[in-house]
């Protein structure tokens, strides 16, 4: 188990380094940040001084190593745009808004997606199943940004107390969290439906039924437990979506989180912030996946003993 964790952690660190390299080179090789930073009428001497102040005069490789070194202790340097604050500070200010929305959306995803998936499997072929599968299909096919706008148009205008933008009180969570969770609900529903169908067809479930156990016990205990292992890896993807997929939704609803920050910073070419954001998000994803891998290995011994079957 220790070996398994070690190997996976090492792979995770390599991944983060690769992401940092991509982010750094993308940001630097495609444009000189000075074009944005320096006012057009700035004197040549002042420009050079500014360049020195931000370390932009050093060779690229050195800039990258400095960047990695600083990032390792959480220092991403001052934001070009906000000048006095560091990229790390700004991200930390915006993080809670994203986390809160992500948490609400995750809860919504689970409490709707999982029961619907189970119900759909148990009531296979009935109207309940048809509705659930229709919802799953819709959730996988609808563009989130459009759903957000349509909801603003249909709901928010009719119902006064639901705000359409910004973050003011619990009501503002309603629309964005519905839009963010719709895809996850669809995916979880499908995953749980097929996992449940698979376990419900096994011999030991038939045995449990023959023993005269109540349907509730058969489904809730004997079928649900093994069926819930497979969709577990999906939570990694779900976390990715909560962090990056929410970008578009945050922009639609002017939600003051990381997604909106990324959008604003990229438009202003504020490299420290964009780099820090990309690294921060990538690192979160890697850690999340690592935790899920470990949980998976803990639950299912086949994983830690051999190669993982699908990954």
């Amino acid at each position: 188990m220790a070996r398994y964790i070690l190997i996976n952690s090492f792979r995770g660190i390599l991944t983060i380094l690769l992401v940092s390299l991509i982010v750094f080179s993308l940001a630097r090789l495609t444009g000189d940040p000075m074009d944005v930073l320096a006012p057009v009428d700035m004197s040549h001497e002042d420009q050079e001084a500014l360049r020195k102040q931000w370390g932009l005069d050093k060779p690229l490789l050195e800039q990258y190593l400095i960047f990695i070194g600083n990032a390792a202790h959480g220092d991403f340097g001052p934001s070009y745009l906000y000048r006095t604050e560091t990229a790390g500070d700004i991200i930390l200010q915006r993080l809670p808004a994203s986390l809160k929305l992500g948490l609400v959306a995750t809860i919504l995803t689970i409490i709707i997606g999982v029961p619907l998936g189970i119900l759909s499997a148990v009531k296979r072929g009935t109207i309940v199943d048809a509705v659930a599968r229709g919802l799953a299909l819709f959730g996988q096919s609808v563009p989130e940004f459009w759903l957000g706008i349509v909801l603003i148009w249909l709901v928010a205008v009719q119902v006064d107390f639901i705000p359409t933008s910004g973050m003011q009180g619990w009501q503002s969570y309603i629309l964005p969290s519905i839009v963010i969770s719709i895809f996850g609900i669809a995916a979880l529903l499908r995953l749980f439906r097929s996992a449940m169908l698979e376990t419900l067809g096994t011999e030991y479930i038939k045995l449990a039924r023959l023993k005269g156990l109540s349907e509730w016990r058969v489904v809730g205990k004997h079928a649900f437990k093994p069926a819930s292992i497979a969709p577990l890896t999906f939570f990694g993807q779900l976390a990715v979506r909560m962090l990056t997929g929410a970008t578009v939704v945050e922009i639609v609803f002017s939600w003051p989180g990381l997604g909106l920050l990324a959008y604003e910073s990229a438009n202003a070419r504020d490299f420290p912030i964009v780099q820090a954001l990309a690294l921060f998000v990538a690192t979160s994803i890697v850690i999340m996946n690592l935790l899920i891998d470990i949980a998976y290995a803990y639950i299912d011994p086949r994983v830690r003993l051999g190669e993982k079957a699908s990954a």
Partner: protein
């Protein structure tokens, strides 16, 4: 029990018990039964979805210049914010109304189909080629090749795609090439993962061992023996990924990191109508509806293809 239920039973023999018991088991009839089953599945072809793909995406994309009467980029300001024809104030010369620059919505939607089709075809082709090659190599050779490729797959799954797109676009500006590159970079990984997994199992097949004994090199074995066996999976995946690419392209275009204005990408059109949603809902509504319909159609068709080509394939989305 229908074929559809067999699939959703995830290919477990238990789930298909009733079917296999009801059908004749004699080997002589096996071929016939398979042919009959295939025909049965063909009957269940999703005609509505295929019609949507043909009439909302393919035909408009190909014949855009012939079937439109307005200019997709330049409008008549005097006619701006005209509602759709069936609403009061609408006119049949603008069947779906106009946007805030007086451009015909229907014309722009039709040209938008061309963009969606071009982006998704090119992107999926690139992703499929890169993904298949890497997946085949990793699955067949194993060892370090596999370790490196698997790591690359994991890495590209955890790339914050939207953020990277925003960085690139802020630096060099949005363009057709940029968006195709960004989308291709994110789309090869699912192909590679799937192909790798299947190659791993095909590699153990008897016919591969025989080919090896007969002196076939790895290139020949991969091209002639392994690739044909993963082809069905690739077809299904490519179909299902069209929806993913169209959604991603339109999302990036929506936030200004995709197809640049004034080109009529469906995502750009939704963004254009965003501020007018309360006074002119049709500007955002129709392009989004087009995305929804086309993606829905591709998802249904992909599901059906999976049934048709191999009912035993597991759901992997």
């Amino acid at each position: 029990m229908t074929t559809r239920e067999i699939r959703t039973g995830a290919g477990k023999p238990e789930a298909g018990l009733a079917t296999s018991a009801a059908l004749p088991r004699q080997p002589a009839d096996a071929q016939q039964v398979r042919g009959w089953r295939r025909l049965k599945r063909l009957e269940r072809m999703p005609w509505i979805s295929i019609s949507i793909i043909v009439f909302v995406l393919l035909l408009p994309a190909i014949f855009a210049d012939l079937i439109t009467t307005h200019d997709p980029l330049r409008g008549t300001l005097a006619d701006r914010l005209t509602p759709p024809a069936w609403i009061e104030g609408g006119t049949w010369s603008y069947p779906l109304g106009t946007d805030k620059q007086g451009r015909d919505m229907l014309t722009r939607l039709i040209y938008g189909a061309r963009i969606s089709l071009a982006v998704s075809t090119i992107t999926i082709f690139i992703g499929l080629v890169i993904g298949s090659i890497l997946g085949l190599l990793a699955g067949y050779f194993g060892g370090w090749t596999d370790r490196v490729v698997s790591w690359l797959i994991d890495t590209f799954f955890s790339l914050p795609g939207v953020l990277l797109a925003l960085v690139i676009v802020a630096a060099i500006g949005p363009s057709f090439v940029t968006i195709v590159v960004i989308l291709s970079v994110t789309i090869w990984a699912p192909f590679a993962r799937q192909v790798r997994g299947e190659t791993l199992s095909v590699r153990e097949a008897e016919f591969v061992a025989r080919a090896q004994v007969a002196g076939a090199g790895p290139g020949r074995i991969l091209a002639k023996h392994v690739l044909p066996n993963v082809a069905n999976t690739l077809i299904v995946m490519a179909t299902l990924q069209v929806g993913v690419v169209i959604i991603n392209e339109s999302s990036l275009s929506f936030i200004g990191a995709g197809i640049p204005r004034p080109n009529p990408s469906w995502g750009v059109m939704v963004a254009d109508g965003r501020d007018q949603i309360l006074i002119a809902w049709w500007i955002s509504f129709f392009p989004g509806l087009a995305i929804l319909l086309v993606v829905l159609a591709f998802n249904l068709t992909g599901d059906w293809l999976r049934d048709f080509l191999d009912p035993k394939l597991r759901q992997r989305q």
